[in-house]
């Protein structure tokens, strides 16, 4: 697939650069909210909306927001969108609002959102930024849903749909013989770890060349460092910036 295409911008967030399973971001809400399928889907949709909206807005203002205050500006933008979504949920979908509880407000400090704003939205146009937000959001939702399916079905044997106003679905056999630890924190970590392992094994990056990026562009200390910290790696930094550094990843 053409990695410059719009479709790839979306798809990479779902598979190759899944924020939860590959980039290992947003693990806190991932573990906390993935005990139920309904809450996982709700959180995924809410985070996706915040991601898309904040990416678009930050991209629109990328040439206006000064470097020195970019983080506070991003936080204001992200927090505002989270508050809007929170308020709308409280007004129109109170059951979902109650289900997500504290975790809804904590979307503000979700690394995925600030991370994509910093790494992508401020360097790309609004359309690409929106697609990136959409891809990352769908990737987040897919990861949460995958974890929730395992944890809720195997952990309780019941799919709880009461927040949607429906009867819960009881799964035969599993409702009696289930693995309760999956619904608790240790079980969450276990499921998370297994999913990461699976994705690492069968994911699209396996066996491919990987460009290792030592560039200052991705470094959070770039504006204040003056390359002092990387003096030992000066050759690597220069090679990376000249796109001459390639490292073959083991299959």
């Amino acid at each position: 697939m053409n990695k410059n295409s719009k479709l790839w911008i979306v798809l990479k967030g779902i598979i190759a650069e899944n924020p939860v399973l590959v980039l290992i971001l947003g693990t806190c809400p991932a573990l906390a909210v993935s005990t139920s399928i309904v809450s996982a889907i709700s959180m995924g949709i809410a985070a996706t909306l915040v991601l898309v909206c904040s990416n678009v807005f930050i991209s629109l203002l990328r040439k206006i927001i000064p470097d020195t205050v970019r983080i506070p500006c991003y936080i204001v933008v992200i927090a505002s969108f989270v508050t809007i979504i929170q308020t709308l949920l409280q007004a129109y979908l109170p059951a979902i609002y109650t289900l997500l509880g504290t975790w809804l407000a904590l979307i503000v400090v979700n690394c995925i959102i600030l991370g994509r704003a910093e790494m992508y939205a401020r360097k790309n146009n609004p359309l690409d930024s929106a697609l990136d937000g959409l891809g990352m959001g769908i990737g987040f939702l897919v990861a949460l849903l995958g974890m929730a399916i395992i944890r809720e079905i195997l952990g309780t044997g019941v799919i709880n749909l009461t927040a949607l106003g429906f009867e819960s679905i009881t799964i035969p056999v599993l409702s009696e013989y289930n693995i309760p630890i999956l619904t608790s924190a240790p079980g969450g970590f276990l499921v998370y770890g297994i999913l990461i392992a699976i994705v690492n094994k069968i994911g699209p990056k396996a066996g491919s060349e990987k460009r290792k990026n030592f560039s200052c562009e991705g470094c959070p200390s770039a504006s204040i460092c003056g390359r002092v910290s990387c003096s030992e790696n000066a050759e690597l930094v220069s090679a990376s910036e000249n796109n001459t550094l390639v490292e073959k990843e083991e299959a």
């Binding site: 927001i65 000064p66 204001v76 809007i84 409280q90 007004a91």
Partner: protein
């Protein structure tokens, strides 16, 4: 410093904040009425839960009304069924909020805990014990062992709800606390009372077996006592003269209480007549029936210092009052004063946890009670004091010289 750059930073930040402030205000203006409606419906849901047959509720204006302090909101059921009262009380933790439904004739229709910070969680189901009960029935609901503070607060709040509903319905209720009623029953006590179960401030003994007796208060100025029997608060003076009204059904109980208190009057024992009594024994009193009340000084941290002997409290003894039966067993013991380290002694000595190890034990058995790690000096002093009391009892009873 580049002023222009800084100014630009400020302007951009303020502009973004302002923009979103407007957006949020607009969002709020659209959603606030919906949210308010939902919150009211949710609140009504909780009220409906305690009064299932209710048609609807209207909030009662509590301004100017004298209601129990725990009442925070009251709603009148629109068809006249009664009231649903929201209360905030304190059990083991603070902030226990309950909603209690009370019918027009003072019967609880339901009680539920809305929020709480209790530890055991019994408050979530305890409310079921009150449905269909009037005031007498509510007061008779048993507490749950292990959640005494929680359930006591819960029960007390339900009583408050019934009183509140009575007042709101145009009736009257006695909102005084137990202590206030005691003060009003015996004004000569000048508001200074202590509640005792076994040993009073002078060491007089009273043990009561009648379960209808809720408690006995003694005026610290010697003016007399107030005994609570059922709903009666009965005052009598130190000579046993009844000073307030008592119902016919409780008269016999009160007479027994007075007789027991009188029979257990203590007389001082002259320690100079006996040799071998430890100098830490400061006083010994005895009843006609042979009960001993012995004041002992315990040499705890305040005197002996820490285990290395370098630092110690302000040089005060632990003053302990030990009550021994005629047969030489511990009836009770209590700390009168101390200067031990508060953190170490609070759970063990002040709250009576440690002394409960000695109740019913004789001298040999008391000697086998372990001290408490973490309060070694204090509990060792306490145990030694009890053993000294036994020694004094043996000497005095044996008439040893």
């Amino acid at each position: 410093m580049d002023i222009k750059k800084s100014l630009k930073d400020v302007v951009v930040l303020v502009a973004i904040c302002s923009f979103f402030a407007v957006v949020l205000a607009l969002t709020n203006s659209v959603t606030a009425p919906l949210i308010e409606k939902q919150m009211a419906a949710a609140a009504d849901e909780a009220y409906m839960a305690v009064m299932p047959d209710a048609k609807g509720f209207e909030t009662v204006d509590l301004t100017g009304l004298t209601l129990p302090a725990t009442v925070i909101e009251a709603k009148r059921e629109t068809s006249g069924m009664g009231y649903a009262i929201k209360l905030e009380t304190k059990g083991y933790g603070t902030g226990m909020i309950l909603i209690v439904g009370v019918s027009a004739d003072g019967v609880v229709t339901g009680a539920t805990c809305v929020t709480s910070n209790e530890t055991n969680g019994d408050e979530k189901t305890y409310g079921g014990n009150f449905s269909g009960k009037d005031m007498a029935g509510v007061e008779a609901v048993e507490l749950i062992a292990g959640s005494t503070m929680t359930t006591k607060a819960y029960r007390s709040a339900v009583v408050d709800a019934i009183n509140a509903a009575t007042i709101l319905g145009g009736g009257s209720a006695d909102l005084r606390t137990e202590e206030e009623i005691v003060n009003d029953t015996l004004p000569a006590g000048e508001g200074k009372f202590i509640k005792f179960t076994v040993v009073d401030i002078d060491g007089n003994i009273y043990t009561y077996d009648d379960l209808s007796i809720k408690g006995i208060y003694e005026a610290t100025n010697g003016a007399g006592y107030v005994c609570i029997v059922g709903k009666d608060y009965v005052a009598f003076d130190a000579d046993g003269n009844i000073l307030s009204e008592v119902s016919a059904e409780n008269k016999e109980i009160i007479d027994n209480v007075i007789a027991k208190i009188s029979a257990n009057k203590l007389t001082n024992v002259d320690l100079a007549e006996f040799s071998g009594i430890n100098s830490l024994i400061t006083s010994v009193k005895k009843t006609e029936s042979g009960i001993f009340v012995i004041d002992v000084n315990g040499e705890g941290y305040g005197i002996k210092g820490d285990m290395d002997g370098y630092t110690h409290g302000n040089g005060e003894y632990i003053r302990i009052c030990v009550t021994l039966s005629a047969e030489g067993r511990v009836i009770d013991s209590v700390v009168l004063s101390h200067s031990e380290t508060p953190d170490y002694v609070k759970d063990n000595l002040e709250d009576g946890k440690y002394n409960s190890n000695f109740i019913g034990k004789d001298q040999t058995e008391s000697g086998k009670v372990n001290v408490v790690a973490g309060s070694t000096l204090s509990t060792r002093a306490y145990k030694q004091a009890i053993l000294y009391a036994f020694e004094a009892y043996v000497i005095i009873e044996g008439g040893a010289n």
